[in-house]
């Protein structure tokens, strides 16, 4: 049986893993390669790295870090932030990443999805989206609006419409990161995740709000997420991946148990 994936997310700022709430007040947590190796040892199923300032600073992603991670772990990982061209994608994938994640830049230039998908295959192209709950049925009938640039900009685009369009353009997976839940550790945004998961044919990764194992049980059972991103709850040492997995197994969620 296909298992549900648990994906630690490492936000990178100046070559260090940081963690903030809603992209603010970031504190340094450690070295990305060391943390990746530790989570790999602990049995995480995949990893995602976001170079959170590359895009704002208009510089390409830190390829050296991608290369080091690729040497340290033997599981798939995705890299996002600062990816604006096919050349950027190619460098990240050739350095050993399994997937590239596009977000703000895909909103500005949706064709990058189609180009990347044609060049490298849909399974390599992940759409990251940061939807915000809004009450604006005219513009956003799904109830969620896409924000970009680390939640700083609102786009007026409907989240579900954008998800469907991105699938048509060729994304292989969608990470739905709730702006409202991000960093709160109060649980995933179930209705949002469910809305996207039930309406696109590609796997959906829930993101934003994970605070304990029950939150993961809820998002897998109620929202049909295929995978879930966790960050603060393990970065701070409050819990560990084996402990989370044990709780999920007890709850009857299919989870990878051999690593």
């Amino acid at each position: 049986m296909l298992t549900k994936r648990i994906i630690p997310c490492l936000d990178i700022h100046d070559k260090k893993v940081t963690k903030g709430v809603k992209f603010k007040n970031n504190v340094v947590l450690g070295d990305p390669v060391e943390m990746a190796a530790r989570y790999y040892d602990d049995g995480c199923d995949e990893l995602v790295f976001y170079d959170i300032t590359a895009s704002a600073e208009g510089r390409p992603i830190d390829i050296e870090m991608v290369t080091e991670v690729a040497h340290a772990i033997r599981i798939p990982f995705a890299v996002g932030g600062g990816i604006s061209t096919l050349e950027d994608m190619s460098r990240v994938l050739l350095a050993g990443a399994e997937k590239v994640s596009v977000n703000s830049l895909a909103v500005k230039n949706p064709d990058i999805i189609a180009q990347g998908s044609r060049a490298f295959g849909a399974q390599c192209i992940v759409l990251g989206m940061d939807p915000l709950a809004v009450d604006d049925p005219e513009r956003c009938p799904s109830g969620y609006e896409i924000t970009t640039r680390g939640f700083r900009e609102r786009t007026g685009m409907d989240a579900l419409e954008w998800a469907r369009r991105a699938v048509d353009l060729g994304v292989g997976e969608i990470v739905v990161n709730s702006v409202d839940a991000d960093g709160t550790r109060a649980g995933f945004q179930i209705p949002l995740t469910k809305l996207i998961a039930e309406n696109v044919p590609v796997p959906v990764v829930a993101s934003g709000g994970a605070g304990n194992a029950q939150h993961l049980v809820d998002v897998f059972e109620q929202a049909h997420a295929d995978a879930a991103i966790i960050a603060g709850m393990i970065h701070t040492g409050d819990t560990t991946i084996p402990a989370i997995k044990a709780e999920l197994v007890t709850a009857g969620i299919p989870i990878r148990q051999h690593w």
């Binding site: 050739l94 995978a227 051999h258």
Partner: protein, 238 residues
């Protein structure tokens, strides 16, 4: 770094240049296959040169992408015959993902494509009845070991491996099925093998320590093959 693993090399021509040849036929990114081999201390070379492939001690045939384009590339590069010869000569041969699919005889992909045909059978699209079951299958799924095989040595039954695929192998002869996996309402052959050939639908190079174990098993594997026995005893294959 682990010490370089050296294996016994058969005497006589052809000269062994590289322990493992990873076949490059413009079907996806081979970095992780190379890195996985290197992390095991195995000498591996990514190549599309038939001479290098023929002179390697073992061959990995990976790949992601579509079957039609892949067959086109293999034909352009003159590699279809090289692959047949490598397998016939008894070289230990490992197919991965798309490489595994095009080892079969026919694929439903791209409107139907005839493929290499080293194992009789078809490659079929997942057609889940439930819209919540996504295609491609992406993630870790378990492999039930149907037959003992050196490739599984030290790997627990039902261990999970990393899969990314929309189509799955459907071999004609159940005797070649070494491992099975369930997804989207079908139980499919996730590991197949005969003689010196073994093929996985999943990616051992991305499957953590369990995947590395499988690759290490492949690197140590000394398969029975009539033609290999002939070669090792100095006889000529024609």
């Amino acid at each position: 770094m682990k010490p370089l693993e050296r294996l016994t090399i058969a005497k006589g021509p052809p000269t062994i240049l590289f322990m493992i040849a990873i076949i490059d036929y413009r079907a996806g990114n081979l970095t992780s296959v190379r890195l996985a081999c290197e992390s095991l201390g195995l000498e591996a070379m990514i190549t599309s040169d038939p001479n290098v492939i023929r002179s390697a001690e073992r061959v990995i045939f990976p790949g992601v992408g579509a079957a039609g384009a892949a067959m086109g590339h293999l034909e352009e590069l003159g590699l279809v015959e090289t692959i047949r010869m490598a397998v016939d000569s008894g070289l230990p041969f490992l197919g991965i993902c798309l490489g595994t699919q095009i080892i079969l005889g026919h694929s439903e992909e791209d409107g139907g494509v005839d493929t290499i045909g080293l194992i009789n059978g078809n490659v079929r699209l997942f057609r889940p009845g439930d819209p919540l079951i996504k295609v491609p299958q992406i993630g870790w799924n378990s492999v039930a070991q149907k037959r003992p095989h050196p490739i599984f040595e030290g790997i627990e039954d039902e261990s999970e491996f990393y899969f990314v695929h929309s189509y799955h192998p459907d071999p004609t002869d159940p005797a070649c099925i070494l491992g099975e996996t369930g997804y989207a309402g079908v139980t499919f052959a996730s590991v197949m093998g005969r003689e010196n050939l073994v093929a996985t639908q999943f990616h051992p190079e991305k499957s953590g320590r369990v995947g590395l174990k499988l690759l290490r098993n492949f690197a140590k594997w000394d398969p029975p093959s009539p033609s290999r026995l002939r070669r090792a005893s100095g006889g000529r294959t024609t």
